[in-house]
């Protein structure tokens, strides 16, 4: 592996000002403190109940516990950063944009709830007037448009189209993320709040999550390394996922439905999103592999110098897919283990060789083999690129195919 300097991205000065320096570090600690306080409220505050917690958090006790945590966090941050210079990048300045993003998502979600129809106009049997239906629609449009722009940019590499493309992708992430949060809230609006649950319970919901996760991972790459050409491939996959969401919606899969007893567990909220961090990063790795293959082909044909200029180099693409897998592999391993923990609670055994479990293992084995291929010498980038594309096909089968074609204990996400 040779090292490559990627051009430093031209981060806007505003961005740097917000995410660096003392204020950013203290803000980061304030968030962490708040999270700590809110967790303490759940654990030690009186009578925690899953559906009532959010109201508890929004009430006086939330202000007390969260606020106290926040103050403690700021204090700790101030002490720890007293001597260090806080201007150069550190872990806090890397973490704080993510936490800021979460806050924006929550604010957006709060904003959407203001437009929610009156309780008397919400019905379980016809969910078409919910606001999330519209915000999800906005997400679909933004992602599709972003994909179109990224692809157009390959042929017209002016920076303007590229900017529009990334802004649309960011917009899609915020629209999608806030709609999921909103859907969570909306699920408590029907049937006396009995069926409320986190929006990760069926294929429709997790595909929205998937689109957002892929885009976030890609966009964070784009911000750190200038990878514009890769966007066309990543957003192409996202666009395909959006089309699948539309297709699912046309089958009436978009409705909020109650959870079967096996899924009524807090493990679902941890296990499923963790899985999707894995799936999302494997998708990015696959896109990098596709870009590698396309670039290699263009290079051989010797034409299209203009097109090549916008692609990252072969080595860069190779490293980007490695970066993506190094997010995905630990995340997916952890998700599989969390799944095993849950299974041991719900089914009485941590491993039952159920098709979904087995395919998760297969995915891990395939990417494990890929990682070993990389460290062993004498294999070319072409093999690795093909491998990341094929491995993603296996991944896709694990997460859609298994539900469609194989039967098993994972009742989650059956079609039809």
């Amino acid at each position: 592996m040779t090292s490559i300097t990627m051009d430093q991205p031209q981060q806007s000065r505003l961005f740097a000002a917000i995410h660096q320096g003392k204020i950013a570090v203290l803000r980061c600690w304030a968030y962490l403190g708040f999270i700590g306080g809110a967790s303490a409220l759940a654990m030690f505050g009186s009578n925690y109940s899953e559906s009532g917690y959010i109201f508890q958090l929004l009430s006086m006790s939330g202000v007390v516990w969260g606020g106290a945590g926040m103050l403690v966090g700021i204090g700790v941050g101030a002490v720890l950063t007293r001597s260090d210079d806080t201007d150069s990048p550190n872990w806090q300045s890397k973490l704080v944009p993510w936490l800021d993003g979460v806050v924006v998502l929550l604010l957006l979600m709060g904003l959407w709830t203001l437009f929610e129809p009156a309780a008397s106009q919400i019905s379980y049997t016809d969910q078409s007037n919910l606001v999330s239906v519209r915000t999800i629609m906005a997400m679909k449009v933004l992602f599709l448009f972003s994909a179109a722009c990224y692809i157009a940019q390959l042929f017209a590499p002016e920076s303007f189209i590229g900017k529009v493309a990334s802004w649309c992708a960011w917009g899609g992430v915020y629209a999608g993320g806030s709609s999921l949060l909103l859907r969570w809230y909306e699920s408590y609006q029907f049937l006396g709040g009995e069926i409320g649950h986190a929006p990760v319970s069926n294929l429709y919901e997790v595909f929205i999550l998937l689109c957002c996760v892929i885009s976030i991972i890609y966009l964070s790459f784009e911000r750190r390394y200038r990878t514009t050409g890769l966007g066309a491939f990543v957003m192409f996959l996202v666009a395909a996922a959006v089309l699948f969401i539309i297709w699912l919606g046309s089958y009436g899969e978009a409705d909020i439905k109650p959870l079967v007893p096996a899924l009524q567990s807090y493990w679902m909220k941890i296990h499923v999103p963790m899985n999707f961090v894995g799936y999302g990063s494997f998708a990015v790795a696959c896109a990098a592999g596709m870009a590698w293959l396309v670039r290699a082909r263009l290079e051989r044909s010797g034409k299209n110098a203009k097109l090549l200029a916008i692609f990252p180099s072969l080595d860069q693409l190779d490293q980007l897919s490695y970066r993506a897998v190094s997010i995905g592999f630990p995340a997916f391993t952890l998700a599989t283990i969390l799944g095993a923990v849950w299974a041991s609670q719900a089914w009485g055994g941590y491993w039952s060789w159920d098709p979904k479990e087995t395919w998760a293992l297969i995915v891990l084995l395939v990417y494990g083999a890929w990682l070993h291929v990389r460290v062993s010498h004498g294999w070319s980038g072409r093999v690795l690129a093909w491998w990341s594309v094929t491995a993603f096909v296996v991944t896709l089968f694990c997460f859609v195919g298994v539900n469609m074609y194989l039967s098993g204990l994972h009742s989650y996400g059956h079609l039809g």
Partner: protein, 571 residues
């Protein structure tokens, strides 16, 4: 293969066991092998397999253990092979890695300087070597420093993430730990099912063992006091709950509710809510005789029993009973309308000269809004629940008067047609019906007579065509559930969790911590100047390291000495 080749093959295998190509091959083979069992359904009944594959393939597949392949000798051998390979590879690499972590070369030979991708050289005036070295050490506090004087220069070596190789060791040992844990679970644990009817008690579990069923007696018995299902308003189940009592040596030691995701723990055994079903409910069927006599009789039986009619020889084998049957009554594609159709019993009807059929008989009539459309049943001619077809019976059997009216009507109609009174069919019908109404109700006509009349007239066609001597309709029931429990004991589970923790921890070290090394050579130039030469590398993620290296350089360049004259090396 000859005898002579064998030992050398083993030798080669042993030598190759810890090598990368073999590891890659093993991982792929394992992935392929695992996929087989997801396509070929595992642990089904042997007769199903025989039917599906025919005798030849059945025996071939069975000999290969394909019907329980995750426990077959060859799959276990593959896992054993993986363990051997990981073990061999740890054996080969760990000593080297530990050595590398300890040995840190302070100087860099020229040949390596040239190859370093990240390097910078600059000069500082008005300072001394010692001062610069001290400054560097305070400027970069997080680094682990070594210092030495060689060949007229002062060398500094800094390391970060020096223990990165522990990631490798942890990850690969974790694989071994997890597999050992799995082996403990399989060999010293058990996992089986028992069904306990309400008020009943059970001590034995059963489980699939190869192509048969194994049994195991627990050191205690389990009594189910009550099983309860709660439904969402759309008919989906919301909660399954069993109230269980553990009875150990005749003493009731514990009574507790369990739900899915909320098991019970007693004496190292976990008890899970796994399934439920009918535990032999009492069923009373009312038989409406279709021979024109208008009589009825009762059949008193229970789920899983077979009731036989002594006179006709017709038998009813009761297979299931459900107190709720929520169905979507909305038109396809339109908004859903959920409606509970009420209790229903399922049975198979057999008899001489009759095609045996599966019937689901509902207790209540089918009412849509205010419209009583009469009783109905589902009939499957194949005996498969997929082929159920709704058969409207016309009459509302929950109202005994209606059955009377029907029989009176049929009787009167027969009288009229035999008399050949010269009436048209329609007239005969109307007159027969009028007479029948007087027969049954006298002059106190019920308010819903028009609807009742429609149902009676309609049912003449359907009921007279029934091939059976009587129509069995669910009259009442006394329901009993059984709860399906899964009992497990797993001595390996904690080993697996420890292994899993090590695995994730190791992966985080492996992927997110990199071993970064920097070298700084400080040489005195002239009276008050020093020349600094900085180089660095990382064993992974070169993209990020290049960024980090630039930051390091900037920090040192700005922080060392006062008067700086940079002679940046162009890379």
């Amino acid at each position: 293969m000859t005898q002579k080749n064998l030992p050398s093959l083993i030798k080669i295998l042993l030598a190759r066991l810890g090598t990368m190509p073999l590891a890659i091959l093993l991982l792929i083979v394992l992935a392929l092998a695992s996929s087989i069992g997801t396509v070929l359904l595992q642990n089904q009944g042997q007769t199903d397999y025989l039917q599906q594959f025919g005798p030849l393939w059945y025996w071939v597949l069975r000999a290969l253990g394909m019907f329980d392949m995750y426990h077959s000798w060859w799959f276990i051998a593959l896992l054993g092979f993986l363990m051997a390979s990981v073990g061999a590879c740890l054996w080969r690499n760990v000593p080297r890695m530990l050595g590398e972590m300890r040995a840190r070369k302070i100087t860099l030979p020229d040949r390596i300087w040239k190859r370093m991708e990240n390097q910078q050289q600059w000069e500082v005036k008005g300072t001394s070597v010692d001062q610069v070295v001290a400054q560097v050490r305070t400027l970069l506090p997080g680094w682990d420093w070594l210092q030495d004087e060689r060949d007229g220069a002062t060398w500094l070596r800094g390391d970060r993430g020096r223990y990165h190789k522990w990631g490798y060791i942890l990850v690969h040992s974790a694989i071994l730990v997890i597999l050992i844990g799995g082996w403990l679970s399989v060999h010293y644990g058990f996992r089986g099912n028992m069904s306990v009817p309400e008020k009943g008690q059970e001590k034995e579990i059963s489980f699939v063992q190869g192509s048969g069923v194994g049994h195991l007696t627990m050191p205690f018995s389990v009594r189910c006091n009550k099983f309860h299902i709660e439904f969402f308003p759309n008919g989906m189940p919301k909660e399954f709950r069993s109230n269980l009592t553990i009875i150990d040596h005749g003493k009731e030691v514990m009574t507790k509710d369990i739900i899915v995701n909320g098991p019970l723990y007693y004496k190292g055994v976990r008890i899970f809510q796994a399934s439920f079903g009918d535990g032999g409910s009492d069923i009373n069927l009312k038989l409406y005789h279709l021979d024109g006599s208008g009589t009825t009789s009762m059949a008193h039986t229970a789920v899983y029993d077979t009731w036989k009619d002594p006179t006709t020889g017709v038998s009813l084998e009761i297979t299931d009973f459900k107190p709720y049957n929520v169905e979507n009554m909305g038109d396809p594609g339109k908004a859903k309308k959920f409606q509970d159709l009420g209790p229903a019993v399922e049975f198979v009807l057999r008899g001489k000269g009759l095609k045996s059929v599966k019937i689901k008989s509902f207790m209540n009539p089918f009412v849509l809004g205010d419209d009583d459309r009469g009783s109905f049943m589902m009939v499957s001619l194949t005996g498969d629940a997929k082929d159920y077809q709704a058969v409207p019976l016309g009459l509302d059997f929950s109202n005994p008067k209606e059955w009377k009216l029907f029989n009176a009507f049929v009787g009167r109609l027969a009288q009229r047609t035999s008399k050949k009174s010269g009436e048209s069919g329609r007239e005969a019908n109307i007159n027969a019906f009028k007479q029948a109404v007087v027969d049954v109700f006298g002059d106190k006509r019920p308010a819903n007579l028009p609807q009742m009349g429609t149902r009676v007239v309609q049912s003449v066609k359907t009921l007279m065509q029934m091939p059976w001597p009587f129509l069995p309709v669910l009259e009442n029931y006394d329901q009993v559930y059984y709860t399906g429990l899964q009992l497990t004991q797993d001595p390996g589970i904690n080993v697996v969790w420890v292994g899993s923790g090590l695995l994730v921890f190791g992966l985080c070290i492996m992927f997110y911590m990199s071993h970064r090394k920097i070298w700084l050579r400080v040489i005195k130039t002239g009276e008050t100047g020093v020349n600094l030469h900085l180089a660095g590398r990382s064993n992974r993620n070169p993209l990020a390291f290049t960024e980090e290296f630039h930051q390091l350089f900037n920090k040192l360049q700005q922080g060392c000495g006062i008067d700086t004259k940079s002679t940046k090396e162009s890379l």
